[in-house]
């Protein structure tokens, strides 16, 4: 099979899944709802965001950008000023699905397939990847043996250990300890593509707060509350610049309303309620009673916004919990992030073109992406995830000279 044929098949399969009435998608939707207890609209939004941009054109453009051409995946290609080369997919790729984020394993899976690797995905109980695989192999049966899925069981499953030990590349999502455990099971030469825990923040420059803030507040609520705050692209921390024409009360009122409105439109499933949010609310409420900061929360602590918590306290990294901190400049925000060792996946800004000092702060924070508020949860498929390129990790280069 040529890379073009694989890409075309993936594009057609994704097109099927873009249709909300696609039977496989509907089944996956229900299974995801049963597993995650996310609001139905959220799941629909996640599937749209996942399969909407997954087009043949998008795959082509990423691969050409990263490797120089599509054909280089099939055979040697001449390159200007460099020896001819062939980007050959590594033999075996293992991808371990995430627990919290819907379909985060899909992009690495499709790129590893494009690289013509043998791909094994540890799927979740919703069988999302497995269901997508069924669609794909119906379209392109030659992929049947190249693409397998396994249900997630336990880390110490012997079959899983064998898969890891013989893999040439492994993609995994998780915390340092879990990633360390996985890494320890790999062959010394295997490539490990870890996506460690991280969170996302917003930096709102004072100039952007001079106008109507209703839309901005709505965007922030969406960025923070979609997927109940799970996943590295969920907003947990908002830095707001003091000064200028920023009107604190007006903005906080707008944000409070936006959070309440979002919470009402997408109620938190009681099974997903985290008692730690109530504890964080109570801590903040006591401080607020003494005149330190403010807390905006509903009675059952389904959503929580803490304003100006003490600097020595990190943000509550909890479901539907947000911390808002007033700062004078980007360096204050950076200092806070460093003080609490918070690795950022993305930084949201109020405008498309943020100030230079904000971009410098984003770079210094280690963020892999800068996005406008409201777009945080929709990373472009063609962008790099977690600072990693899309297909490059799955190929090895052979040059002829």
């Amino acid at each position: 099979m040529t890379a073009r044929e694989i890409i075309a098949a993936i594009g057609i399969a994704a097109e099927h899944w873009r249709n909300p009435n696609c039977a496989a998608r509907r089944a996956a939707h229900e299974a995801i709802a049963a597993r995650t207890h996310y609001d139905n609209a959220m799941i629909g939004e996640a599937l749209d965001a996942l399969f909407g941009p997954l087009t043949e054109e998008a795959l082509n453009s990423v691969i050409v950008d990263e490797l120089g051409s599509l054909d280089i995946l099939d055979h040697f290609m001449e390159r200007p000023s460099r020896p001819a080369a062939h980007a050959r997919g590594v033999e075996r790729v293992v991808i371990i699905s995430s627990d919290t984020t819907i379909g985060v394993a899909i992009p690495p899976t499709v790129f590893a397939l494009c690289a013509k690797s043998q791909v094994t995905v540890r799927d979740r109980s919703d069988d999302l990847i497995s269901r997508f695989r069924t669609t794909l192999v119906e379209i392109e049966p030659r992929l049947t043996d190249r693409f397998t899925t396994q249900r997630w069981t336990a880390h110490d499953d012997p079959q899983f250990r064998t898969s890891l030990a013989t893999a040439d590349a492994v993609v995994a999502f998780g915390g340092d300890e879990a990633l360390g455990n996985i890494r320890a099971q790999l062959a010394p030469q295997a490539r490990f593509i870890p996506y460690g825990h991280s969170t996302s923040a917003a930096y709102l420059e004072r100039e952007a707060l001079a106008h109507d803030v209703t839309a901005l507040a709505r965007d922030l609520a969406h960025d923070a509350l979609l997927y109940d705050g799970d996943g590295c692209l969920s907003l947990h921390l908002i830095f707001v610049e003091r000064g200028g024409t920023y009107e604190r009360e007006r903005f906080l009122a707008a944000l409070g309303h936006a959070i309440r409105d979002y919470g009402a439109a997408h109620p938190l499933d009681p099974l997903r309620r985290d008692p730690r949010v109530a504890a964080a609310r109570d801590r903040a409420a006591f401080r607020a009673a003494l005149g330190h900061g403010r807390v905006i929360a509903d009675d059952d602590a389904a959503t929580l916004l803490i304003v100006d918590q003490p600097e020595d306290e990190g943000p509550p990294l909890l479901r539907r919990a947000i911390s808002l901190i007033h700062v004078d400049e980007p360096d204050d925000a950076l200092a806070y992030l460093r003080q609490h060792s918070l690795p950022l996946e993305a930084l949201a800004t109020a405008t498309e073109n943020p100030r230079e000092d904000i971009l410098r702060m984003a770079i210094a924070s280690g963020a892999a992406r800068v996005a406008r508020c409201g777009r945080l949860q929709f990373p472009p498929f063609t962008g790099e995830h977690g600072g990693q390129r899309r297909i490059e990790p799955f190929v090895r280069w052979i040059y002829r000279a």
């Binding site: 371990i96 995430s98 627990d99 919290t100 984020t101 985060v104 997630w152 880390h155 995994a172 999502f173 998780g174 915390g175 300890e177 879990a178 996506y195 460690g196 825990h197 991280s198 969170t199 799970d230 996943g231 590295c232 309620r273 985290d274 008692p275 730690r276 949010v277 109530a278 504890a279 109570d282 801590r283 409420a285 006591f286 401080r287 607020a288 009673a289 003494l290 330190h292 009675d299 059952d300 602590a301 003490p310 020595d312 306290e313 509550p316 990294l317 909890l318 918070l342 690795p343 996946e345």
Partner: protein
């Protein structure tokens, strides 16, 4: 009535309650508890400025106090980090304890106006729940020594009971995170040689350390009859956490102490009184915590409403011996009520950073079992 008179009268009533239970096991009925709780609450609303400001946001003032003890506004336990919660000038505090604190960098401070009240409360519970058979014990302490940790409530408590209830040869074997294993082993050997029953008091973390070390040295002890172990303090975010059942089985095997002689004490710096494992539950897998009559606990949900027995919620303690600070403390500990007392599940720990997480991690931090 002037404040001083009020205080003396209140304290005298508290001392009477404590003495009656300590000496003859006489409890108090709901009406007495209610009356005392509401009177102390009114006093605290009038004389504890930070508490008063907090309570006012909930609609309670000295003029409009709560009408039932269950309605007394509770401060979160973290409040001791954020404010001075005292009904008196803390420069005159007879006791000052500091919390270990994990939520913020600084620790909380709990000031007590009268050491005698604190002492009476702790001794009564210790006597009745821990040494009701009144043995003369040697205290071997794996808790912070009050000499090195001057503001540790746990260290103070063990020093107090070691002096009053010990054989005069108490030992301290924990310095910071470091256990003096050789010294501790030597003290155990001496006690065994002298057929002197001991009480080993320690944090779960310290116990894990000594069990590991004794296992490495292949050392086991058969402590004299009547010996017992008091486990307290949980793991407090330390690296190696073991299940309580496993810990107790290891303790029993290492020291030759029957499981029912291993007793968990549940206390906190923010309280003057402590819970202990109910004697009748000590042989069971699921232990029930019981408290002296002046300490009651409500189990509440996220809205602050009390839940029925058997339903898990946050523990809210009303400790009348907290007379000089705040009697109602909202903890982040989870548990549920049963007929005999409460079952403690553990703390809703601070959330670690999460992105797209793996299943195993989800399981790991669901509960920090205390």
């Amino acid at each position: 009535m002037n404040p001083l008179t009020t205080i003396r009268a209140l304290d005298e009533r508290l001392f009477q309650v404590i003495r009656a239970w300590h000496t003859v096991g006489k409890s108090i009925d709901d009406a007495v508890f209610e009356d005392l709780a509401l009177e102390i609450c009114r006093y605290q609303l009038a004389h504890n400025e930070a508490y008063s400001r907090f309570a006012a946001t909930l609609g309670f003032t000295p003029e409009l106090p709560p009408l039932h003890w269950r309605a007394i506004p509770a401060v979160p336990s973290s409040a001791f980090k954020d404010a001075t919660l005292a009904t008196f000038d803390v420069r005159h505090a007879e006791l000052e304890f500091h919390t270990s604190g994990t939520t913020t960098a600084h620790s909380g401070k709990h000031f007590f106006e009268r050491a005698a009240l604190y002492d009476a409360s702790l001794l009564a519970s210790f006597d009745r729940f821990m040494i009701s058979d009144r043995p003369k014990l040697r205290f071997l302490n794996l808790v912070p020594s009050p000499r090195s940790a001057t503001h540790s409530s746990l260290g103070y408590m063990m020093a107090y009971v070691s002096v009053l209830r010990g054989d005069g040869n108490a030992g301290w074997f924990l310095d910071g995170d470091s256990v003096d294993v050789d010294g501790f082993a030597g003290a155990l050997d001496k006690a065994v040689a002298a057929d002197q029953a001991v009480l080993i008091a320690g944090t779960a973390f310290a116990f894990v350390n000594v069990i590991d070390e004794f296992a490495r040295r292949d050392r086991r002890f058969t402590l004299p009859s009547g010996s017992r172990i008091m486990e307290t303090g949980g793991f407090k975010g330390r690296s190696r956490v073991v299940e309580r059942e496993d810990l107790y089985a290891s303790l029993s095997a290492t020291f030759g102490v029957p499981l029912e002689r291993i007793v968990a004490e549940y206390g906190m710096t923010e309280l003057a009184s402590q819970y202990y494992d109910a004697p009748e539950s000590r042989a069971r897998m699921q232990r029930v915590k019981v408290a002296p009559p002046w300490l009651r606990t409500l189990v509440i949900d996220e809205r602050g409403d009390e839940v029925t027995a058997g339903i898990v919620g946050f523990l809210r303690h009303i400790d009348l011996a907290n007379r000089s600070s705040v009697i109602a403390i909202q903890t982040e500990d989870r548990g549920y009520a049963v007929d005999e007392g409460i079952v403690l599940l553990g703390r809703a720990i601070d959330a670690p950073l999460r992105g797209c997480s793996l299943d195993a991690e989800e399981l790991r931090f669901s509960l920090d079992r205390a």
